[in-house]
Amino acid sequence: MDGIRFTLNGREVVYDGSAADRLLDVLRDIYRCTSVKCGCKEGECGACSVLMDGVLYNSCCVAMGAVEGASVVTMEGFRETERFHVLEKAFGEVSAVQCGFCIPGMVLAAEALLSRNPHPTEDDIREGLSGNLCRCTGYNAIVNAVSIAAKEGDGLW
């Protein structure tokens, strides 16, 4: 086998391990993308969310075989973008970050949402983030942050 080719944060990589390995483990252990958090390893919490071709996935539920040819973006890549800057600022403004463990996944969920719906209502935001658990905030601040980012970053998405 030639190895699994994919793009990670804009860089072409070839993974030589098993096609059955978890994307989550590979991102953390091989590529040292430790912003991708392991909260449950069964697709329930969203802490390991990444973007694959712009779509939000729980990386714990993705086998490496499914990554062939895809473009994977983690916070390590996303934090270099202008969109991140707008989201980061909005999250900071309303103190939407407490323990921080869910946050990289949450911000990527916001990115996935705003990419398909740049002007979401509060209900849209709550729906878009509903696969990402946060135990600290009660979600109000996070929802507000995404709403602020959508306004401040008008035109970016």
């Binding site: 953390r28 252990d29 040292r32 430790t34 912003s35 991708v36 958090k37 392991c38 909260g39 449950c40 390893k41 069964e42 329930e44 919490c45 802490a47 983690t74 916070m75 390590e76 934090r79 991140f84 989201l87 980061e88 999250f91 900071g92 403004e93 309303v94 103190s95 939407a96 970050v97 407490q98 323990c99 921080g100 463990f101 869910c102 946050i103 990289p104 911000v107 509060e122 209900d123 935001i125 709550r126 729906e127 983030l129 509903s130 696969g131 990402n132 658990l133 946060c134 135990r135 600290c136 905030t137 009660g138 979600y139 109000n140 601040a141 996070i142 929802v143």
Partner: protein
């Protein structure tokens, strides 16, 4: 709003939001051994023998025989073993740790271990459990006389279930043997010095033989108060044996099943009423402690002190016990015993009121404590009790009284509505004389030659904001920009013991020490030189001394107060309840940062609503916890309570920094009382006695009542 309350961007915001913060699982794996616990699989048994598979080179089996010091983890008592003794007392009890360089190999070796047990019948029912860890009695007045003279006597039982902290980052600790023989333990934890004391004892070394660093911690909520001491001891013993760094990070199922949770409770309230007023309460509180005593003594103390609620009860008798069962040891969880008893007393007051033909709100209002009144332990409410104003605030926000009256009328149709209210306090700081006699907090400020100031204290940032609020206090007193003051995660090798990150105490108690230290530094400030100042805890002089043997005196210097209202709509076809609104007024004194405090209130309130409604965890007839994943144990998502409104009411506390009181735990405490009262109303006025009250419970009532 005071200037100090104006929100800033939190100091740990950027590293966290950008994913750069290093949690314990994020340290590089090179040269670090994976540690995996071999958990007992039966609830109660003698461990006869363990068949350990042949271990490849570089792999280790670590158990009680490898503990160089004492095989007991220092918590309150010392009954929790690091690795099991001759018996296992609950499903999941650690028997050994397998360590080695390859994770999958370690797991395979662990799973190949065969444990031979001589099984015994486990004790699983707290009604019949006869091993009592802690047993307390207190009260005042003449309870028997009040019951003899009563017009009516009420006698009801209330139950609450487990609650899992469900911090998003699972438990994890790592131990690194350092040159010179010192052991470095770091990880996800609330209380670096608790881990320090525990590891010292287990390694049999002095204070300098070990140091503990709190890593960036992905949520605690009490769950990382005592448990990291246990896991920290296990990895320290393993690293000591292996001579290499050892890290153990739990997976979610392991964490949910085997780590400490909120104590399930069974409370019996007997209440005497004369001329429409409560004249006496005779309360029996029983907590399921699980297999070891861990923090149950102090959890129970807080629970029973709160058991008469915020009402004047002229004659009171309280009995509290924490009993042993062969289940995972319970421990600290935000609220710390009080959510259980506040639920019981709020429901009891509601039931009495309805029996007397009045609504629960005016009935409770008629019994409310006020400034100057005696507390349940014959201490005093030294400061104003702002509950009436807070009730008015909540009423104004959600039209409580009108809805309460409207929903009380007979309802028909598929959807039925209800609204309920709870009112309560949270005693700020350690219970009783703990701050003065046990913790004796010390905090320091170190000023460097360049004029930056470092805060030296042991309170851990767990999301609650102390890395921001502590520097805000110090910068304010020193008239420095916030960038010039910083607070890193504590390492016991370089910070004094300012006490644990628990009991809603960090900001109120340690924050005040830092404020005083900053004033001292300001007075001594010399440009261009390094300076250090220190402050020590002093008990406020107004306190009535507390005696734990009699449960008498001021259990807390002051109280944070709250009023919650929850409005529900029940779908009688499905049993599913929609929360139309959750409204809370919270008084935690001056917010040191408005956003930080609001975030605590919103997060805590939602956790409380989860506890009241969907967070159901139980064990089966063998003592095995059945709800061990986020599929089986549901916590609220973004969509569960979109209409969550928290308001801050400020009653300043003169001995807290700028008037701040304890905040973190308060918002969780009252949700079950408000929610279940709302459910009663939506379900046609039934009397309910337990929380969580789930969709299944709702369906059962609908079927029984023919709604």
């Amino acid at each position: 709003m005071d200037r100090i309350s104006e929100s800033v961007v939190k100091k740990d915001h950027l590293p966290k939001v950008s994913g750069r913060s290093v949690y314990v699982a994020d340290y590089p794996t090179e040269g670090v051994l994976f540690g995996k616990l071999l958990h007992g699989k039966v609830a109660r048994a003698k461990v006869l023998d363990v068949d350990v598979p042949e271990l490849p080179e570089g792999y280790f089996y670590v158990d009680a025989r490898d503990v160089p010091g004492d095989n007991n983890v220092n918590i309150v008592l010392d009954d929790t073993p690091v690795f099991c003794r001759e018996t296992v007392e609950y499903i999941g009890e650690p028997i050994a740790m397998l360590c080695g360089p390859d994770e999958k190999t370690v797991e395979r070796l662990r799973d190949a271990c065969v444990v031979h047990y001589e099984e015994q019948e486990p004790v699983l029912d707290i009604r019949t459990a006869d091993h009592v860890f802690f047993d307390y009695h207190f009260g005042h007045g003449d309870v028997d006389k009040a019951f003899a003279e009563a017009d009516k006597v009420y006698d009801e039982e209330f139950e609450t279930g487990y609650q899992e902290q469900a911090y998003l980052e699972p438990q994890g600790m790592m131990a690194v043997p350092e040159e010179g023989g010192r052991m470095f333990v770091h990880g996800s934890a609330q209380c670096a010095y608790y881990v320090h004391g525990a590891v010292m004892r287990v390694l049999g070394c002095g204070p300098a033989g070990v140091h503990i660093l709190q890593d960036v911690t992905g949520g605690g909520f009490g769950g990382k108060e005592a448990f990291p001491s246990i896991l920290g001891c296990q990895v320290a013993v393993a690293a000591h044996k292996c001579g290499k760094p050892v890290r153990c990070v739990f997976d979610r199922r392991e964490d949910m099943e085997y780590t400490s949770k909120r104590h399930p409770s069974l409370c019996r309230y007997r209440v005497a009423v004369k001329d429409g007023r409560v004249t006496a309460m005779d309360i029996d509180v029983k907590f399921n402690a699980g297999a070891y005593s861990t923090l149950s003594a102090v959890v129970l103390q807080r629970g029973i002190i709160a058991s008469p609620g915020i009402y004047n009860v002229p004659n009171l008798r309280v009995h509290g016990s924490a009993v042993k069962t062969n289940t995972s040891p319970c421990g600290a969880y935000r609220g710390f015993g009080a959510p259980q008893t506040f639920f019981a007393v709020e429901m009891m007051m509601d039931h009495i009121a309805r029996d007397l033909g009045v609504d629960s709100l005016p009935f409770k209002e008629a019994h409310l404590v006020k400034q100057g009144d005696a507390t349940s332990t014959c201490g005093k409410y030294h400061f104003p009790v702002p509950i009436p104003a807070m009730i008015a605030e909540v009423d104004a926000e959600c039209d409580y009284r009108a809805k309460r009256e409207r929903y009380a009328r007979p309802q028909t149709g598929r959807y039925r509505r209800g609204i309920g209210m709870s009112m309560y306090f949270h005693g700020a700081g350690f219970t009783g004389s703990g701050e003065r006699d046990l913790i004796k907090a010390v905090a320091k400020l170190r000023k460097y030659a360049d004029g930056t100031v470092e805060i030296l204290a042991s309170n851990g940032e767990i999301g609650q904001g102390v890395r921001t609020t502590f520097p805000k206090i110090v910068a304010n007193e020193l008239n420095l920009p916030l960038e010039k003051v910083y607070y890193d995660h504590p390492d016991t090798a370089r910070v004094p013991d300012s006490g644990p990150t628990v009991a809603s105490r960090s900001l109120m108690v340690v924050g005040e020490l830092l404020r005083r230290a900053a004033i001292k530094l300001r007075e001594q400030w010399i440009d261009g030189v390094e300076q250090e100042v220190e402050e020590r805890f002093r008990e406020p002089d107004f306190m009535i001394p507390f005696y734990i043997d009699k449960f008498q005196g001021d259990a807390y210097p002051t109280y944070a107060w709250a009023v919650n209202a929850i409005e529900v709509e029940v779908d009688t076809y499905t049993g599913i309840t929609k929360i139309l609104g959750a409204y809370g007024s919270f008084d935690v004194g001056t917010p040191i940062d408005y956003n930080v405090v609001l975030g605590q209130m919103e997060g805590g309130f939602l956790q409380g609503i989860g506890y009241a409604s969907i967070e159901k965890m139980d064990y089966d007839a063998k003592g095995r916890i059945r709800n061990n994943s986020f599929s089986d144990y549901l916590i609220p998502t973004t969509k569960d309570v979109p209409n969550l409104k928290c308001m801050l009411h400020v009653e300043k506390y003169p001995d807290g920094p700028y008037g701040a009181k304890g905040a973190g735990e308060l918002p969780l405490v009252g949700a079950p009382g408000a929610y279940v009262e709302a459910m009663e109303q939506a379900l046609g006025g039934v009397r309910l006695h337990h929380a969580p009250f789930t969709a299944e419970d709702t369906l059962a009532v609908i079927a029984k009542e023919g709604l």
